[in-house]
Symmetry: C2
């Protein structure tokens, strides 16, 4: 591992070359970054942790960096927030070759630059065990326009973006443009990070409603993967009856919000309870 100071200088240079946003008034290098949201906007802030051996292996550094950025950007998309900045804290074994974190940051910066977000800070430490990565995503949204999990109402249509249950090595892009287009249009939204069965149950609990989705409507080749696989990074959202989805995005209506609680899957005219079987962080231990 290279000395901390040189490493931080490399990160700062790479970040500055990648993207600079006017809302970031001070980036890497001081005790804190300074951000000024656009007039009339508030900030959305999210954190996501990735641990070697739990969320990723050491095999593909660049893809891991892309996923790290995508996780944060996807949370911002689910709020309808415009991405502004990422902060990344990393702990590495002291004997890790520097090529690994460099590739990680290249992937991270490629994904964040594509979303016009600036890497604005972070921290670094040695680790006596696995590599640990924590990302903070900061976005902005007009006051009162953010999408929440809690706004779904009976009769709302249930929609998803893109394709579900794709192979785990397929490239993902966070749906932040769709999220922004859903402001003041969708009644509720969540991103599909833990799997449709889990995330739809989360949203219904937050909104105190139920849901019925139809297997035949799912935009997927593999139903099992579409229902329970995590890390799709697509958006799951609700539109009031009669309201159409925004133009120019690939979205599919898959069901309806119900007054009665419980989440159900209609398959071959039978109605099955859709139990959360997605990602659970402590389930495997």
């Amino acid at each position: 591992m290279i000395p901390e100071r040189q490493w931080l200088q490399w990160v700062a240079s790479a970040a500055e070359a990648a993207a600079v946003r006017r809302e970031i008034r001070l980036g890497i290098g001081d005790d804190a970054a300074l951000l000024r949201p656009a007039r009339g906007c508030e900030l959305a802030i999210t954190t996501d942790l990735m641990v070697e051996g739990v969320h990723f292996t050491r095999a593909r550094a660049r893809a891991t960096g892309e996923r790290l950025a995508t996780r944060a950007l996807s949370d911002l998309a689910a709020m309808g927030a415009e991405p502004l900045a990422l902060f990344v804290s990393t702990a590495y074994p002291a004997d890790l070759a520097v090529a690994w974190p460099r590739e990680l940051y290249r992937g991270l910066l490629a994904a964040s630059t594509a979303a016009q977000a600036q890497l604005a800070g972070g921290d670094v430490s040695s680790s006596p065990g696995p590599i640990m990565l924590d990302v903070v995503g900061v976005g902005q949204c007009p006051v009162g326009a953010a999408l929440r999990r809690s706004g779904a109402r009976p009769g709302d249509g249930i929609y998803v973006s893109g394709q579900l249950g794709r192979p785990q090595d397929a490239a993902r892009t966070a749906r932040w443009q769709l999220g922004m287009a859903l402001r003041r249009r969708a009644s509720a939204a969540i991103d599909l990070s833990d799997g449709l069965s889990t995330d739809l149950n989360h949203l219904c609990q937050a909104s105190q409603v139920g849901a019925e989705i139809t297997a035949g409507l799912l935009p997927a080749n593999n139903f099992e993967a579409a229902l329970h696989q995590g890390e799709d990074y697509e958006l799951l959202f609700m539109l009031p009856a009669g309201r159409r989805p925004p133009c120019g995005f690939e979205v599919t209506r898959i069901g309806v919000i119900t007054r009665a609680p419980g989440v159900f899957l209609v398959h071959r005219k039978a109605r099955h309870p859709l139990v959360p079987r997605g990602w659970q962080h402590f389930a495997k231990s």
Copy 2:
């Protein structure tokens, strides 16, 4: 370890009981938190990583939680920012008894509540190795009033708050009230997290100046500890000549900023280069 969902509910309840700020429009429970800074303010954002076996041992969970909060709050203090929110990401071994993270959060919430900051989010994961803790601090500051490392000018007086080099188990409080009082008064500031010798060198490099401090003026019993020990969480700041420190705070003038580069310590009428010997994250490996 208890299931993730119940654990997050415990954290959310504990956080809500501890502190609620009106700037936090949405806290724990959605895809992101929502923050609206006060009128005319921008946000300061900082991250700090703590790794078991590097920064702490498992012996004292509550004190570790207090330190975690103090690290973030101290960075905000060094910017002159008013603390608003903390976000905490944690990775634990799956067999860790739940009493440990509960005590950690009790310490964290005690320290953040004392600074009127709200725990507004975070993430949790299992860890196949050590416990890892990452804290994000968010504060606010009137636009243009934030303190930076880069503003020190030749002739400025050098000041520190409190006492330096105290025993490592002494309780620390972040100096956020002093930081706010230094807005539009101090020319530069940094918090003493890596040790005076290291942090003063960082600040002088950022300001492109030198410094001369006097051993006899240091507010300390143990000079060696005062110069090189990390985690004092006091503020090191500069005031233009003739400007007095704010009333009501324990601060000591310890030297002067020089045009010539280099940081020097005057001891018994001799002038010694003050080489950084504080905390280096990869130095021990």
